[in-house]
């Protein structure tokens, strides 16, 4: 199977108040296209930092990140933005919808950015699939947490990403809503054949993926391939 994400000797340190803080230490792994992977670990273990680096949101101190055969560390911030628009989808713990855009417009943005056609109908389809057909013109503040996360899911899948990064996708939701969102996430993922990387400390959610990478103190402490 083709590799969609390849991480080699990745380290990230921060300089602050006269001392150096190493958040990630010499991390290497590869992820096959179409697989589902979860990165788990306790708070402060560096999982969100790792996600940021994998998705090209930040630059590593050393090491390399290759996403869909594009070496991110050699790109400028604007070039990485285009990589994200082309290949990457995001789901955040706090949904990160644009507050001044309606649900429909939020989903339309990645498609509009790519200059695609029929943006409105495709976005509407996605929202209907997410069960939000009657909430298209609502603003995020008029939606519940679960609804907002479903809009976020629709937006993440809008540009048919090759890889989807989800940062604690159920972290801000109650159990019942979480289940619905997780089901939707995996359904859409299966349908689109997207690689899914979930950062979470929810072991139940992690168990639903085919591979679990455990991280602690900035290093990988376990990499479990599941059937």
């Amino acid at each position: 199977m083709d590799t969609i994400l390849s991480i080699q000797n990745l380290s990230k340190t921060y300089q602050g108040a006269g001392r150096t803080l190493t958040v990630l230490h010499d991390i290497s792994f590869s992820i096959a296209a179409g697989s589902t992977v979860s990165i788990v670990g306790p708070s402060g273990s560096g999982k969100t930092t790792l996600l940021g680096l994998c998705a090209g949101l930040d630059r590593a101190t050393s090491g390399s990140v290759e996403l869909n055969h594009v070496k991110l560390d050699q790109l400028s911030e604007d070039e990485r933005a285009q990589v994200r628009n082309k290949y990457v989808g995001f789901i955040f713990q706090n949904f990160q919808l644009l507050p001044t855009l309606t649900a429909l417009e939020n989903v339309m943005v990645p498609l509009e950015l790519r200059g695609e056609k029929n943006v409105k109908s495709r976005s509407r389809d996605l929202l209907e699939k997410a069960g939000l057909g009657d909430r298209l013109n609502h603003y995020p503040s008029q939606l519940s947490g679960g609804e907002q996360q479903r809009v976020s899911l629709a937006r993440a899948f809008a540009n048919n990403p090759k890889i989807l990064f989800a940062d604690e996708p159920t972290g801000n939701l109650d159990a019942e809503t979480s289940d619905k969102v997780v089901k939707l996430l995996f359904d859409l993922n299966q349908e689109a054949g997207t690689t899914l990387i979930i950062v979470t400390h929810n072991l139940e959610l992690a168990a639903m993926t085919s591979r679990i990478i455990r991280i602690k103190g900035g290093s990988i402490v376990g990499d479990e391939q599941r059937s």
Partner: protein, 851 residues
């Protein structure tokens, strides 16, 4: 899996950027409009000034002929030679002449006297426009008999009516009309000596034309063919020059009038520009907070693939949009205000100004508003390019890291723009630089004061003070404070208004000082030699002191060291300035110095007792420096036809501030006694009643004598300064109101910042009263500091102007200062409190939910 190659394409999809800008602004439009309201008044003031300027220029061009009243005017201060007179009588298709001079007139019914400008006129001048009179027929008809047209201010002052008599010199004239307006003259120019028109044919009978009288000779011409004017002027120019006569054509007057009003409108536009700059600081500060609130949205967009340029443009489009909207509103308001300006300025205007919509002014206002709002918004806007997508994952991490070196480029652009605008308005590189630097220094001082205050409060504020006081003070330096913005904008506005007020005070004070105490306050001039002793006696009889009595002889320089004006003009290496020959001197003769003089070189010439004795004259030092005369130079004077050779024997320093006669050139006694001359007597009158009585007595006996009453001059000056002051204050008012709008905007913006804090305080149990006190204290400190700094700047500036420019003492009156301080501080508190009432009147939970 496809292995497509990634290639970066930098694309700017403009329509999408506009759509996103529109969407993103959706829930903030009222706030954006509030930001931009700060520039509305600045643009309004500029559009009003520009429109007024263009309309004025337009009207001057249209009414230029009525400004002059003729195609050509030839003027001189002495009668032309018979040769020139022959030429003057032959040119033009229609001719008119006028003699004008200052003289006292006597209102028979009221027994009042007043210094006026007598204008003795013949022919049918004005050829263009008219002498506007009541009744209208009086203008053309007064020349038919012993009639006079009397200025309307005089008619009012002496309660005179048509048909009354007025005595000019030895004869009486019947007032046939009230003069409302004469070509090219505005109300202010005729305030000191209002005009009285009489027919020229009666001038000699008045007995006012005597040898030595200072009379202006004006010749007015109308040409059927306008092109002839230039030809005539070209032919005549050198002849007129030889006889020290001057000419004025419609084109010349158009240029001169246009130029002097250009200066004035430029000055007003600079005042307006300051209001605009203040507004822009408000915009920059508001956008700064706006962008900070938008960081998370920008980070999300960056995550979704928006590049830094696109993100920057989404917000730039929003700013440009509101900048344009603000400019449009400003232009509309400015066009409305423009209707008022001609009314406010009417006393100064020589033409009737139409209030037409000036599209040129509107276009300039719109362009200016758009450019300047973008420029100032760029300061916070460049940071947008630096917002990292990582912010979506780490809320607090990137918050303070929005510094961008590109800001320095923006600062340079702003300074460059301010300089460019000033250069455009003023035209002089140096003056534009001085204005720009002046504004920068004022900004710098205000920012420094604000920072200093924040530092002092943070460092030294006593921790033992009551909680409410501590909280109120702490708000001055905590994150998202408005201290620098408010201190700068309100401070600059106050400084501006304060300076204008103080300078007006200094000018009035200076004149008042000369008119107070035991200083002389009345000058009688044009006294003939035979009248000299009698007038002095009359003064003594009225109980008035004869402070000074001096003879005055008028003369011109013919040659210096054997070179005449023509030689100097030709010889480019000549030391003497050409200007030395242009001046008509009023010279006195005496053998002693007065107490306003000090010898700096040589000694005063000895009395001349024999015709062969060299004549040593004394020259005022500054004048000698200007025309480059030196000790020992021989100067040949033309004393009304007689040539007198002299040698510069001494130099004097003269204090020109005193109310007494001072002279550039003083002759020794024994030379000019027989020359045609008049005398000046200076006295001090204790009251307006004595002044009126004495003036009446003198004018009735000696109608040729003119009297200047300093009390009158003072009240005229006061009036003029008040009128000019009103116009300047009117325009400067825009700065103050802009300052207040910026204040309202800043307070409203900071309301969003303060809201959570106040709600938290209320949740923790703070009462409504406590929050009210904290808010009031914070805004009182801000308002008080801003106005105090502004006033101090104004006082420092006025002191410097008083000392170095006006050479006067600066003694500000404290009451208006304290009043201004209280008003501005209270307004700040009031606005702060009104805006905070949303937090105060609602339950904490409701506010929290809403936010």
């Amino acid at each position: 899996m496809d292995r497509e190659r990634f290639t970066y394409k930098k694309k700017i999809n403009l329509p999408w950027l506009f759509t996103m800008a529109w969407r993103d602004s959706r829930r903030n439009r009222s706030r954006l409009l509030l930001f931009v309201s700060s520039i509305i008044l600045g643009i309004a003031a500029l559009v009003a000034t520009f429109s007024f300027g263009y309309n004025l220029q337009n009207d001057i061009d249209k009414q230029a002929k009525t400004l002059v009243g003729a195609d050509l005017v030839i003027q001189g201060n002495k009668p032309p030679t018979p040769q020139l007179q022959t030429i003057l009588d032959s040119i033009g298709n229609e001719r008119s002449q006028e003699r004008s001079f200052a003289s006292m007139v006597y209102f028979v019914k009221d027994s009042g006297t007043r210094l006026v400008q007598v204008r003795a006129l013949d022919g049918s001048y004005p050829f263009y426009g008219e002498l506007e009179t009541t009744p209208a027929s009086a203008g053309p008809h007064f020349r038919k008999g012993r009639n006079a047209l009397v200025d309307k201010t005089l008619m009012l002052q002496f309660n005179a009516s048509i048909g009354d008599s007025i005595q000019v010199g030895d004869i009486k004239f019947a007032i046939t009309g009230t003069l409302n307006k004469a070509p090219g003259r505005n109300t202010i120019s005729t305030t000191v000596a209002p005009p009285v028109y009489i027919p020229l044919q009666f001038l000699d009978s008045t007995g006012l034309v005597q040898k030595g009288s200072r009379i202006a000779y004006n010749y007015y011409y109308k040409f059927n063919n306008e092109a002839d004017v230039d030809a005539v002027v070209r032919d005549l120019e050198s002849k007129l020059d030889q006889e020290s006569m001057d000419y004025d054509t419609v084109e010349e007057r158009k240029r001169n009038t246009g130029r002097s009003f250009e200066d004035f409108t430029q000055f007003l536009s600079l005042i307006s520009f300051v209001a605009l700059l203040l507004g822009c600081i408000g915009v920059a500060s508001a956008i700064h907070i706006y962008i900070r609130e938008k960081i998370s949205s920008i980070a999300i967009l960056r995550c979704l693939g928006v590049n830094s340029t696109q993100a920057f443009f989404i917000y730039l489009i929003q700013i440009a949009g509101i900048g344009l909207l603000g400019s449009v509103l400003g232009a509309i308001l400015g066009t409305l205000i423009q209707q008022i300006l001609p009314t406010v300025l009417q006393d100064f205007l020589p033409v009737d100004v139409a209030v037409a919509v000036s599209w040129k002014a509107i276009a300039q206002g719109l362009a200016l508003g758009l450019v300047i709002s973008i420029l100032f918004a760029l300061l916070p806007l460049v940071s947008v390019r630096k917002v990292s997508p990582l912010y979506t994952l780490r809320i607090s991490f990137e918050h303070a890291r929005l510094r961008d070196p590109a800001k320095w480029i923006v600062y340079i652009l702003i300074v460059g723009f301010v300089y460019g605008f000033c250069k455009w308005q003023i035209g002089s590189y140096m003056q534009a630089a001085a204005f720009t630097i002046g504004i920068l220094i004022a900004f710098f001082i205000l920012v420094l004061v604000a920072r200093l205050l924040m530092w002092i409060v943070r460092r030294f504020f006593p921790g033992s003070w009551n909680y409410l006081w501590r909280q109120g003070f702490a708000n001055l330096y905590r994150p998202n404070n408005q201290t620098i913005t408010l201190v700068t904008t309100i401070g600059l506005g106050v400084a501006f208004i304060g300076t204008l007020y103080f300078i007006q005070g200094i000018l009035i004070n200076r004149v008042s000082l000369t008119a107070s105490g035991n200083q002389p306050n009345m000058v009688l001039f044009d006294i003939q030699s035979g009248q000299k002793d009698s007038v002095a006696d009359m003064a003594v009889q009225h109980g008035l002191p004869v402070v000074q009595q001096v003879p005055i002889v008028t003369m011109r320089i013919e040659e210096v060291n054997g070179m005449n004006a023509e030689d100097v003009r030709r010889d480019t290496s000549a030391r003497i300035s050409e200007r030395a020959f242009e001046w008509e001197f009023r010279v006195t003769y005496r053998d002693t110095l007065t107490d306003s003089e000090k010898l700096t070189r040589g000694k005063l010439g000895a009395p001349v007792t024999s015709p062969n004795q060299p004549i040593y004259i004394s020259v005022e030092e500054d004048y000698a420096r200007r025309v480059r005369l030196q000790m020992g130079d021989t100067v040949l004077f033309n004393v009304q036809g007689t040539l007198v050779k002299t040698i510069i024997g001494s130099m004097r320093q003269v204090d020109w501030q005193r109310v007494q006669t001072n002279f550039r050139v003083v002759f020794p006694s024994g030379v000019l006694e027989e020359a045609p001359q008049f005398h000046v007597l200076i006295t001090r009158v204790p009251s307006p009643e004595v002044s009126a009585k004495f003036q009446q007595a003198v004018v009735r006996r000696y109608p040729n004598i003119s009297i200047i009453d300093l009390g009158l001059i003072l009240s005229v000056l006061d009036d003029v300064l008040n009128k000019i002051g009103f116009v300047i204050r009117f325009m400067a008012g825009f700065s103050i109101i802009t300052g207040l709008i910026v204040l309202i905007a800043s307070v409203l913006i900071s309301k969003f910042q303060r809201m959570q804090e106040s709600v938290l305080l209320r949740t923790l149990g703070a009462s409504r009263r406590q929050i009210l006190i904290i808010t009031a204290l914070e805004y009182f400190f801000l308002g008080a500091l801003a106005s105090a700094t502004g006033l101090l700047l104004a006082m420092a500036g006025s002191w410097a102007l008083a000392k170095f420019s006006f050479e006067a003492r600066f003694t500000p009156s404290w009451l208006p200062i304290i009043l201004l301080f209280i008003i501005i501080s209270s307004l700040t508190v009031l606005i702060g409190l009104i805006n905070s009432r949303g937090v105060l009147n609602k339950p904490p939970l409701e506010v929290l939910r809403r936010e």
